[in-house]
Amino acid sequence: MEIKEKLKKIIDSNDVCLFMKGVPTAPQCGFSMTISKILKHLNINFEGINVLEDENIRQGIKEYSDWPTIPQLYVKGEFIGGCDIVKEMFEQGELKDLLEKKNLI
């Protein structure tokens, strides 16, 4: 399967997915940890995809989202952003609103 299709399948089959370094229980980068913590704080079930396990996914998702860094958060197929954006949205209550609107809280 082409990497693009593979990524689309992952994104489409998980309401909330986080492309991250490490796994949700043990993030291996501070930025990945920040988003994990925020999602856990909001009691959101999410799929953590460890990009360190697959170089194709690691490079592929950067192209797929046209975004140069990891972590990357997707909600119901929509790219939400990286750590800075998610953190800012969380602090301003926008992330909770978005998740509520998508019936995930």
């Binding site: 501070g30 930025f31 046209d66 975004w67 140069p68 860094t69 990891i70 952003g81 750590c83 800075d84």
Partner: protein, 76 residues
């Protein structure tokens, strides 16, 4: 190869000339920075678009030479 604050500023200014830029070296290692960037070009753009403009100005260095740059953008 890490980038200095001066180099980061120059890169951003070269594609966003009106940018007001404030960069902090978070731990003093020339590798973990935070940048606040204010520019008219951010007006009426989504956060994703705003950050993409900053990444673009860094000419592919983000995620490579530049490991950690936390970005805050604002219109003016």
């Amino acid at each position: 190869m890490a980038l200095s604050i001066k180099e980061i500023k120059e890169l951003i200014t070269s594609s966003i000339p009106d940018a007001i830029i404030e960069i902090k070296d978070l731990v003093g290692d020339n590798n973990h920075y935070s940048a606040k960037i204010i520019s008219k070009i951010f007006n009426n753009k989504s956060k994703i678009e705003q950050h993409k403009l900053v990444y673009k100005s860094l000419q592919g260095k983000m995620g490579n030479e530049l490991h950690a740059l936390s970005i805050t953008t604002e219109g003016k």
